[in-house]
Symmetry: C2
């Protein structure tokens, strides 16, 4: 056995180092368009100490390390690099502690987001971040990407809930960053620096998150609008309410047509959708959720909503969200493949973004439908494309990003850069900022071993 593999095997328990064919399932996240290399090996540690031992072995041999959770990412950040060691934390699944008094949970990085949410709920508490993949994603992956979700409009993103991290640095040292306390300014905010760094600054092995008191049972509504502008105006009024909606999602006409076609084909249950140019899906989990939703419904109607349906209990509120969940499968059946964008703009620029996207679709002769987190200005334009014509779709993908950045927005609200969005990042951030980021990267990872070529 070559020395690197020998040293890696020695760092791990039996059966925790995979090579050859066995590495295949670990080579890719869900970003269809991103490259994936052939790794040297996959390491499956069960403890922080084993992670540290793997990192030391990699450092000794100059091997690149790609940290990985559940590979549910959509930007290629967890894809294999040729000759690298895939450091997959899927076996670190312990929920270590839930404290009701401190309102925190401490879990290993491989714990799935849904398991964390359940552990919190079992203690009468609440972990709000709900990335779309939360049933399969890991909290370590959420931290690496600073994952968002539908409830961000009220509660914020993963970063807003991370208190403390156990991190293995590039030299194999184990550190504890941040503080369990609500407030703390003793050091630089290295927790904030790690969150969203996509595995380029250290390997997160344990996470302490803040929890909140459990909210009231959710109520919801759906509102169909005759124009997209009317829906945008209603959304602007809704986020101006002191009782902030916990969810404020948007589906444009193209989304609705695709979903309706799926229902028409009998591939999804439910009645056919009414013809509409836009749909808002809104929820409240406030103490008076039912009253909130009636109030939101009145706002929707005042802005021209033609069909408003309210749901006063969680089961019916959840049923209204079913349309949102049908979006991905519906789009995939449009043309065979879908590129999922993740642009974010200041709310005032949302009309210009939607209009600009429609113009791009015409100019570049591509199909783009748009849905997503309207309440925080983070939309997911979906490029449905024929897999045989990937070049055109990538051009359109980058054109949408360029549009968002010109409107004062960003290429990525919650998915991350990975490798897929690298070409757009320097234009957005500017070369001096990218240089500063690289300097920080070099300070923490002088050998450049941690997920090289991603993020910057």
């Amino acid at each position: 056995m070559p020395q690197p593999l020998h040293d890696l095997a020695a760092a791990l328990p039996e059966g925790a180092l995979l090579t050859g064919e066995a590495t295949e399932p670990y080579r890719r996240d869900t970003a269809d368009g991103a490259e994936a290399g052939v790794p040297l090996a996959v390491a499956l540690p069960r403890t922080t100490e084993q992670v540290a031992a793997v990192v030391r072995a990699c450092a000794a041999h100059g091997l690149a390390i790609v940290p990985q959770g559940a590979r549910s990412g959509v930007a290629g950040a967890a894809n294999a690099i040729d000759g690298a060691v895939m450091l997959c934390l899927e076996r670190m699944t312990a929920v270590l502690e839930v404290s009701t008094v401190d309102q925190v949970a401490r879990v290993e990085a491989g714990v799935r987001t849904i398991e964390l949410a359940r552990a919190a709920a079992d203690a009468g508490l609440f972990y709000p971040p709900d990335p779309g993949s939360w049933e399969i994603s890991t909290i370590g992956g959420n931290v690496a990407t600073n994952a968002g979700g539908m409830r961000c409009v009220k509660y914020g993103v993963t970063r807003d809930f991370v208190r403390e991290l156990t991190v293995v640095l590039a030299d194999g040292e184990i550190v504890r960053l941040g503080h369990r306390t609500v407030k703390g300014v003793a050091g630089l905010d290295l927790v904030g620096l790690m969150v969203g760094s996509e595995g380029t600054l250290g390997i997160v092995t344990e996470v302490t998150v803040a929890l909140r008191p459990a909210p009231a049972p959710t109520a919801g509504l759906s509102a169909a609008f005759p124009t997209a502008d009317a829906a945008l105006a209603a959304a602007e009024a809704l986020v101006a309410e002191p009782r902030r909606p916990s969810v404020l999602e948007f589906l444009d006409a193209g989304c609705l047509v695709a979903i309706d076609a799926m229902i028409a084909r009998g591939e999804a249950p439910g009645p056919r959708l009414p013809a509409a140019e836009a749909l808002l899906l809104v929820q409240s989990d406030g103490p008076d959720a039912g009253a909130d939703v009636e109030h939101y419904a009145a706002i929707a109607r005042a802005h021209g909503a033609t069909l408003v349906e309210t749901a006063g209990d969680p089961a019916r509120a959840d049923a209204l969200m079913e349309l949102r969940r049908l979006l991905h499968p519906a789009l995939r059946s449009l043309r065979g493949a879908v590129l999922n964008e993740d642009v974010s703009v200041p709310r005032a620029q949302l009309p210009a973004l939607l209009e600009g996207i429609q113009q791009l679709a015409v100019d570049l002769d591509v199909t783009i439908v748009t849905g997503g987190h309207l309440g925080d200005g983070n939309l997911h334009p979906f490029l449905a494309y024929d897999p045989a014509d990937v070049a055109r779709s990538i051009r359109a993908y980058l054109a949408v990003i360029d549009l968002a950045v010109r409107l004062g927005g960003t290429a990525t609200g919650e998915h991350g850069v990975g490798s897929l969005k690298l070409p757009a990042i320097e234009a957005e951030l500017g070369s001096r900022v990218v240089a500063a980021q690289r300097a920080i990267k070099a300070a923490l990872d002088p050998q450049g071993l941690l997920n090289p070529g991603r993020k910057y």
Copy 2:
């Protein structure tokens, strides 16, 4: 004129460079115990470009730079260093923009916190962070220290509201960090890194903060308890409520005695205080604030509160907070001088913290009274001392920090490290974390010019 002063003068408009006696008012923040040197000069730029020109001149001559706002800090971070240039942003006072649709304000760093709050309120919006010094502190200083305040228990700290920063880096380059959008993960979180870095990584000249819809008029209550433990138990129940109080402050028996003595001497208006071992001051700014406060009052009574007073409107709620405002002057009159600590512990450790502080006061024969932000575990033990006996008070000060850190807490919840708490920081963070922070500092400020010797 020596070349450095010549170059500094050339970087600034007429009258914006002070030397000699004129620098005296700029030498100190409010930390009585911290050293202050004699600066070379004070620079008072009006624009980001002037700040950049000053930084370039300093870099060319190897001059240390101490950034400074209103000098309302309490850790010595803005105190003069011998031979340094004090870069004071007090003349950069423009409110550049308030956007109701994007719910953001963009202001220059020298804008006072209260002016920012007023500009937000004028637009029907709300800037929640309210550090104790908010009437005089600048937003730049708030960013530099990641300032807290009374409303953190509901809304979070300054960092939670900063979206975008204009920063002059150590080489004099001007960069824009962060994003105006609600969400954005295109780069590393350099905004989070700058917030709380106490002027050691860059000079913040412009700040974009998130605003919220204006809350409902505030209601409040005060509740006196026969034991500190009863007050702590009531506070624990209050933060478990889904309708989170917007303020949850604590005054221990020593605080109450000192304030009552001030009232007895006629130095403050109001009736004498009832004998009590602890007082909670609670507010709500929720849509049903009056109902919230009645509910909180019931919780206080259920936990043994002997005297509960509620106030259903903002004016009366504010009057109840008057006791909290009397605390500082009351303590100063106890022994002549006061050291204000800023420890934070996990909530579950609050009883042990208060008990441990009482034991330390006995063991070290010092007077320590404790008040502060009970709702988020961030307390301010106040060491009242005879100025002739400063050594003993510093010993006690460090012993309280040591106690908080042993309880899983931190030396500083919201005031910062400055120079005053430097001796305690390595023990709290560990040497590897401090080394990582220094590496980041060196990456961004290779000459070590920005506020050297502070924070790390």
